[in-house]
Structure formats: C-alpha cells, structure tokens
Symmetry: C2
Subunit: 387 residues, 2 copies
C-alpha cells in the first residue's frame, strides 16, 4: 500500500490518519513538533519545517504523493519539489489560488465565476487605491492580506477612509503585507460547497452546507444548508466542480460562498479537508478525509450520500479551564449519540481543540444537541460541580 505524505501536523492531518488506517494507506506527516495534533497519532512522523526546502525534500522521499494540511508552504518550494519529480496534489499551479487571494480573484473573475468586486492595493499608493475602491463600492470595505490569512486573521472591515484606516494601512505596508480590497457583501448567510477531484478528472460533490462564523472562526456547520433552493444548491455544486476542473485541483476543494439576494458569490477557496466538511466523518458515506486520500491517490472517489437527514457540526474552542475531562464525561452521559472529536491539543482560550457532531431528522433538536455539547465542553458548569 502506498505512502502518502502530508505536510503539516494539525488536526486535518490527524483526522486524515483515521481515514488512512481504514484505506490501508500509510500516512507520513511533516510536523513541527512531536506534540502536534497529528504527530501524536501517526506512526510515521518526520519533524521539520514546511518553510525549509531541505526539510521538505527529505520528507517526500519514499512518498508516492504529497499533499498538504494547510496553505503555508511557499509556492516556490512546491514548484521545486515538482521539478524534482515529486507528485504534489494539489499541484503548485492549482494551490496558488488557495494561497494568494488576489491571484484567485483575478483567475476566477476572468473565468466568469461570481465574485465580489475587488481591487489590488499597491503598496506605493495604498490609501489612495483604497479610497478609490471605497468610492466605487461604498463603505465599509474589506481589506485583506493576499497571503497567509486564516480564521479571521489577515482580514479587516474598514468603516471609512479615516485616520484609523490610514494608520492601519501604513502599518501593513510598512510590514510588507501585500493587500487587496473587496466589497463588503450584504450576504444572507454563508454556504460552503465541498467537492473532490481526482487526477483522472473524476469529480464528486457533497451536499452544500450552511456555515456560521463567529469572530472570523467557523462556529457551526449545518448539512445540508436548511431551506436552500434546489437550483441554487445545484448551481453551487456545479460552480465548485467547475472551479476544481479549471484550476486542475486534485484532492478536495472547499468553496466558501456568500448567499445573496441574487445567488452565490465565491468568498474563499481551500484545497484540503476543510472545517466545513468535518460533518462528513459521520454524516456522509465517505468522509472528506477518506475522499481527499482517494483523490490524491488517484483511486475512484467514494459516495457522498448523506447518512442522516441533518448533520450539525459545532467547533469546540478552548475555555478558561485547561482540564475539560469532567465536562467531556457530562457531554457523553447527557447525549450518548453525540460524537466528540478531540484534536489532542492543549486547551487555550479560543483555540480550536475539537468538534462535535449530532445527527437526526429534526433540525432544531440536532442543532440544540450539537450546541449544548460544544458550549458545555468549552465552559459548562460541570467543572465547578465536580471539583
């Protein structure tokens, strides 16, 4: 059975290991530390930096294919690996669109994919360019670092072009942060369309989900998106499959979408298992982690058929108490059917340390169960009662 290398030792690699065990594939992870989430659960762990080409070159030896649990590997290094003959999936040319938001916007807009209006913000005329963009689209305006942002980092909503904005832009330009601006879209809600694509070009689409963000971090995911118009759902799936094909994505592609009065707009792309797809571990016949492995190994893709009418995933963030074990016991006793996933991370306030999944026919009940479990794990009273 083949060795798959995954660069990055986070929870996405950790959950990919669960799927690799079933498939019989061997997962090798490149982790920064033996304490990383995935390093704690894999047999084949290499310690190194994803920002070191030497470490990457050592890591890929013996892997039939290399994939990624994040977007932070420098594009030039992925190209160098490809030039060495390493099969990187997704490849550098595709992955660049998940690494650089401006490249993504320019490519998708040119291809006719529905996107918010946007503009590059050149360093030498940053404030003027931002003011001009604000005049065109109206304020507020969304300012983004073109690279490196995630979970609300690298994104600012600017109410106007006043002194606070000028100060922020000056600071970012001084720090060398490449910037772009986007219109602030008055969306109804956020959706995500998750698809997979194999090197042969086989595609598979999961049901479109609703994602709820809080403080820029994914808070909960409802599968399928409740009340979503069937035509719009099909349009979103087609859009995601089309982007995957156009960009030659291999593996998973998560397309984060805004649902507006007029349809959907593309917000962000990710080319890896994605927080909006954690519900598939229990909620789909094939989890996103298995699907990603099947795609990068050029195996036939698995069924995306849902296993329940509704599946709700809620992220568990760290609270003030580092010891959540008593609350863990409470949650399991309270709801024997809720599934708890922990990432093996130390608890820090606001850090994603796990997620919970609930399933059923009655959406209100399923939502309540998932929310109770996630909130209780973060800050429920059990810790006070039991100590």
């Amino acid at each position: 059975m083949p060795v798959v290398g995954m660069v990055g030792g986070g929870q996405l690699a950790r959950m990919t290991q669960q799927a690799a065990i079933g498939l019989g594939a061997q997962l090798r992870v490149l982790a920064a530390s033996p304490q990383d989430s995935a390093a704690r659960v894999c047999a084949d762990v290499r310690i190194g930096e994803h920002t070191s080409l030497e470490d990457l070159r050592g890591f890929v030896k013996g892997c039939v294919v290399v994939t990624f649990d994040h977007e932070h590997v420098p594009p030039a290094f992925i190209r160098a690996l490809e030039e060495d003959g390493t099969a990187c999936r997704p490849g550098s040319a595709a992955l660049l669109h998940a690494q650089d938001k401006l490249v993504m916007r320019e490519r998708l807009s040119a291809a006719g994919a529905p996107c918010p209006r946007f503009a590059a913000i050149p360093a030498d005329t940053a404030l003027a360019a931002l003011e001009a963009f604000g005049r065109e689209t109206g304020w507020p305006v969304v300012l983004k670092a073109t690279r490196g942002g995630y979970d609300g980092k690298g994104l600012w909503i600017l109410p106007d072009a006043g002194p606070a904005t000028a100060e922020l832009v000056d600071r970012l330009v001084d720090e060398g942060v490449a910037l772009m601006a986007e219109e602030h879209v008055p969306f109804r809600r956020e959706l995500a369309a998750l698809v997979a694509r194999s090197p042969y070009g086989q595609g598979a689409a999961y049901p479109v989900v609703e994602t709820v963000q809080r403080d820029g971090i994914c808070h909960e995911v409802i599968a399928p998106a409740p009340g979503l118009d069937d035509d719009l759902a099909a349009e979103a799936q087609r859009l995601a499959l089309d982007i995957a094909a156009r960009l030659d994505v291999v593996g998973l592609l998560a397309v984060e979408l805004f649902e507006t009065e007029d349809g959907v707009l593309v917000n962000e792309l990710a080319m890896r298992p994605h927080n909006s797809g954690h519900w598939t571990i229990e909620g789909s016949r094939t989890s996103q982690f298995e699907q990603h492995l099947r795609a990068v190994l050029n195996l036939p893709l698995g069924s995306t058929e849902p296993t329940a009418r509704y599946t709700v995933m809620a992220n568990v963030l760290g609270g003030d108490d580092p010891d959540l074990y008593p609350r863990y016991i409470h949650v399991m006793a309270h709801d024997p059917a809720v599934k708890v996933h922990f990432y093996g991370k130390d608890v820090r306030p606001g850090r994603k340390i796990g997620h919970v999944t609930a399933m059923g026919d009655d959406l209100d009940e399923v939502l309540e169960r998932a929310r109770h479990a996630a909130e209780y794990l973060r800050s429920g009273p059990a810790m006070k009662e039991t100590r």
Copy 2:
C-alpha cells in the same frame, strides 16, 4: 487525556486506534514487531512479548488502564499486573472465562445460561471419557482445546470413537493440550450478541447479528440478524448483558450463539472488539472500538442505534496474488459506497487481511455488494486483466 494500553498489535488494536484518535485518548500498543497491523498506525508502540511479564510490566507504566486485543496473555501475568496496582479491563477473573472454555462452560452452566452439554476430558482417561460422552449425546462430538483456540484452530468434529479419533486424542494428550468435549449442536444458524459494560455497571447492547462461518473463520456478518424473532433477539441481548454483569466484564463482551429449534445456546465468549462487531464502524452510531475504549475508561457508553436498515460485513481473506491494489481500485470504482478496511498485513492465502462493509435497505442487494467486494479483493479477475 488518558493513555490506554492495549496488549497486542493486531487489527483490533489498529481499528481501536481510529476510535482513540476521535476520542482524544492516546492508545499505546504492545506489539511483537513494528510490522504488526496496529504498530504501523500508532504513535506510541512498545515492542515486546505478551508472554513476558517483564515486557508487560514495562508496557503498562504510565497507562491509566490496560486492555487486550486477544486472549493469549497468561492469566497469571494479568493477576500479577493487578497485584502491582494496574487497572486491567477486563480483569483477570473475568477474562479467564474467555481464555478457558471449560471454566466458561462450568461457570455459565452453574449460572443457568443455556449451553451445549459438555464434559471435561481428563488426560489420563481421555478416550474413555470421550466415548462415554459420545454415548450420552450421540456422535459426532466436538472436541476442543480448552485454551488458545481461535478461527477454527483447537476444535475438531469427531464422527465416532474410531482409530482416527484415538490417534488424535493420543497426540493431543501427548502434546499436553487440555481438552473438553461438547455436544454437536444441530443449529439453524449462528448469531452474536455484542454488549459493553463499564466499571460503573452501565450496559449497552448492539442489535443481535447473524454470523456466517466458513472453514471455522468468520465469513460474513448481517446486522441485524434477518428474520430473527423479536423476543429471541431481546433474550439474546439480556443473556449477554447478564453474562457481562455476572462475570464482571469491563469493556466489550461478544457472545457467540447457536440458534436452535428451542432458542439460543452460548457457543463462545470474547471480551474485546470482535469480528462480529466490525459492521458497527459504519453501521452503528458508536463503533465497537469506540465503545470498548469508553467502557474501559469508565466513560458513559455511546448509542448503539443502527445507522442503516441493514449492514453487511464480509471478511477479506488473502488470495494467491500478493498485490491486490488493482482489485482494490476495481472494487472502489464498482461500488462507491462500499467501505473497504485494510489491516496493513501482507497477503497470505487464507489470512484475514481486511473487511468490507455495505449498507442499505434491501438485504439481498447489500449482501451481493459486500460479497462481490470481498470475493473480488481475494481473487477477482482484475489482476489478470490489468497486468
């Protein structure tokens, strides 16, 4: 999160690792070799022998609880670990009933559990005792080694007390094999009742399944057992929960049963995840591997609700061709919803190397899908076509 030690590096430990990753528990395995099925997928692997008390004592240091992927640890060694203060679950007193068939029969019969008629076969009067037992129950008679048998090993069906039987019995007695006899039960089919029990005494029962053996090896499992009378199913579940409580089992208990004209009879016991429960990975809200971990960690048990009307598990045995990858691809392409599980073992003819699971509403269709996948993986024509 706690460290759980599992003695044995087979596929049961391997699949337990998948569940441990989700629960956030750390699984440590004692494997005979780094090539063992579970050693290939765990971060915390200790190499040693389960027949060495020294190796066992080193292994358990730092584990909050120790459990087992097989029955082959000498009972005296488990008692020694317990005397050292190690939490062994199941404990030595319970586990002995899964290690020694005569102890099990005597205990269950005394407790009134329905069992086949049986007799100890003393070494010094073996053939005479066997003849007497055969006169009482009629021939054929089942001869069993009281310890160490599995997958049809250590079990002989004797047609009569003729010369072949005398020769076999002489040889076994010479080898020091402890023996017992059981009546040959004219069963309709075989069933299995899988339950879990926690140290608090919480119990959970899975739906009763039908198991189909071939050459003494589990061939396929149908969940739930089709056409099983509701009262008989409930009786089998109660019987298994009752045995678990009486024997003070902690963890899983699989009770293999014969269904006869008059009800059920206990065939064998196992106190660990069991081949008859592999279907629960996809087919139940809580897999048997997660359930075993929850039970031995004294966590509240998970829901045993089925996730489909029918789930069929078929074992994949090795065929003549060591390279099954081309057949693997075929099976995935043929049926995107069948789930393939590989154990990371080298292929040898007749060796259990994995299993497949199919689910759906139409039993005939589900059976056909699982059988096709398992048979094709073993010996399908794809290998000939693709090379």
